[in-house]
Symmetry: C2
Subunit: 381 residues, 2 copies
């Protein structure tokens, strides 16, 4: 079985190189830009791929919803297996693409859509077959980890480090998807859908942005609280449903995540039989993510074409989980769930009692209306 | 396809539970001890399994070389796929069992033989398909990690912590295989065989025991050198061959391994395209290791029955790799590769220049003849 790659950008070209070196033929590459090195393999017409009976696998690395979505739907309907590195697409059309693939007797794989080079989703799915996974948690975004690591290591402030990240190409000119959490939210939704065998949408995920973290927060967290801070996605199962959220999180200095530096990722699952399994690696980049996309293509080529898809109806309810929070705000009013409050200058540094995630995000919105610089982080114990 | 489990001890019974809960039938269990809960499934006669045409997978969790080896050879010759959690067996008969399986058109899987519950060997093999792996490294033994973590955290000495580990069941009455490195050496040999597609024998692995580490070493390493110490297996590829060794190793306090506490494991691969991938989890235990054995059985049941086996002849040569070492000894003579030497009481604390692994292990034998309490550790930078 031969494959085609849609999109010859960073990830697509990385996967192309990995597959070629490993001796797996990529028959066609779709791209609208010229790429002389591809010779006859290059096409700008998707029908050349769709109508090629030798091509049994279509691997999408275009990004965005359209035309990627239309191409994959057509490929599936034509009986081709599909692979994607596109978290936006997979998160948005998770159910549609799975259902359609099942209907057409093909498989869909998207390991590279979360965790970059880390075989995270692959192993999550493999473990979910025979274990009861009750939690997933992880650093899934390299940009925010780079920023936090630099702030902590060098004592610099957020804006300065963000500019450096942009200069190094680690952060986009518009960094919102990274620092406001949408990127992590999509990866968390996809991970939670697999872990709990259900369908989690990005709008189910409560998000605290990382944007408001200041040097003063880092100092307070690392020196006064003797803890560390990382930007994490969470999916947690209870008897009555699943809580899914993205938050800056305070961790002990001995936590594994504390030593995850630069733009690396680490994602963990917690299973009843296997315990905690953590996966560390590069969360982005041409060859790491290209490797991950290529692995899915190779799996299918070698015969792994089964698709089990029978999602449960699981209620997403962020009021099911209680945890403590760190808050830094100049907002004057106190709430009854505040536990310890220290005032430094114009700001209060607050540790809360246990409060459910929904309630905390609701109150945070109230606080942010009055103090748009307030910062919130969960405490992960 | 149904399976049989050989040996209903800790791992075998764990795998049995995991498979049952996941809906995969275990038709027979071989054990010479009575187990009423198994009813008709229990047999003490291997022929009951060998001659059962419904049983397509034989999963061995007996441990030791015989009768496990004879049983697996018979199973393979009868056309059954085999799975094993037995590092001693896999390390000793790596080539024989693979060749025989290939000849008979069956597969052999042994993920649970290194890393316990961690899908380490599984992912190592998956990545080796399309990447050039140039290094593997890891904490592969829970007992020695428990001992080091307790020594570092509590400031206690080796003998006291070893006794506690024995009382907790983390260490055997005869702890030699763990603390003298044979357990890690076998796991390192198996891992290196997969990573570099060759056949590494346990006698190829140079080993420094952990037995001689003292509180004084931990103090010197953590306070004077501001580093950490872990017990690691290494496989490193160069143009001319592979170096394979097991050593206590000094790591920076920011290293991922530094935050691997208790009896946990973490093993890493370094690939040209994927970069560093690290896998953390429980390196032993009924359900973690049982899960790992069960996963191999499930993979085969779901159709993953291909076996690629065409090992390269790769020279194992520990003089190919140079690194620095930490030595603590009362041995008086100095060597020209000593760099920094500090004398405290009767002992010298030495940091060496770069020296090749073979040479260091050779000199260590000279030193140990005169000072049987000398301690050696590589410096991992």
């Amino acid at each position: 079985m031969k494959s085609a790659i849609l999109g010859f950008g960073i990830v697509g070209s990385g996967a192309y190189d990995v597959l070629n070196r490993a001796g797996f033929e990529v028959k066609k590459v779709l791209d609208i830009r010229p790429h002389d090195e591809l010779g006859d393999k290059l096409t700008s017409n998707f029908d050349d791929i769709l109508n090629d009976k030798e091509i049994g696998i279509v691997a999408e690395a275009i990004g965005g919803l359209e035309p990627a979505h239309t191409f994959l739907v057509k490929a599936i309907k034509a009986g081709k297996h599909v692979v994607s590195s596109n978290k936006h697409l997979i998160c948005t059309y998770y159910d549609e693409l799975h259902s359609l693939a099942k209907e057409n007797g093909v498989t869909i794989k998207f390991t590279s859509s979360a965790g970059g080079g880390i075989p995270w989703l692959y192993n999550l799915k493999r473990n979910a077959r025979c274990d009861e996974i009750y939690k997933i948690m992880g650093i899934m975004n390299g940009t925010t980890n780079f920023i936090l690591d630099a702030m902590i290591s060098d004592g610099r402030d957020f804006d300065e480090v963000l500019k450096e990240a942009q200069a190094l190409g680690y952060a986009e000119a518009n960094p919102s998807a990274d620092i406001d959490g949408l990127d992590t939210a999509r990866k968390t939704a996809i991970s939670s859908s697999i872990a709990f065998n259900t369908i989690i949408k990005e709008e189910n995920v409560d998000i605290f942005s990382l944007r408001n973290i200041k040097k003063a927060d880092v100092d307070y967290i690392t020196k006064k609280l003797n803890m560390n801070v990382r930007y994490l996605g969470f999916g947690v199962k209870s008897d009555d449903g699943v809580s899914v959220f993205v938050e800056p999180a305070l961790l002990g200095k001995g936590a594994l995540e504390t030593n995850v530096t630069k733009n690396n990722n680490m994602i963990s699952l917690f299973g009843e039989s296997v315990g905690r399994l953590s996966f560390f690696g590069q969360g982005a980049g041409k060859y790491p993510t290209g490797n991950s996309l290529a692995q899915d293509v190779i799996d299918i080529t070698l015969g792994d074409t089964k698709l089990d898809y029978a999602p449960n109806e699981v209620k997403v309810n962020n009021s099911l989980l209680k945890r403590k929070y760190y808050i830094r705000t100049s907002y004057g009013e106190s709430f009854d769930f505040y536990d310890k409050v220290e005032t430094i200058g114009a700001d209060k540094y607050i540790i809360t009692k246990e409060i459910n995630v929904s309630k905390m995000h609701e109150v945070a919105n109230t606080i942010l209306k009055e103090d748009s610089y307030a910062f919130f982080a969960g405490i992960e114990e």
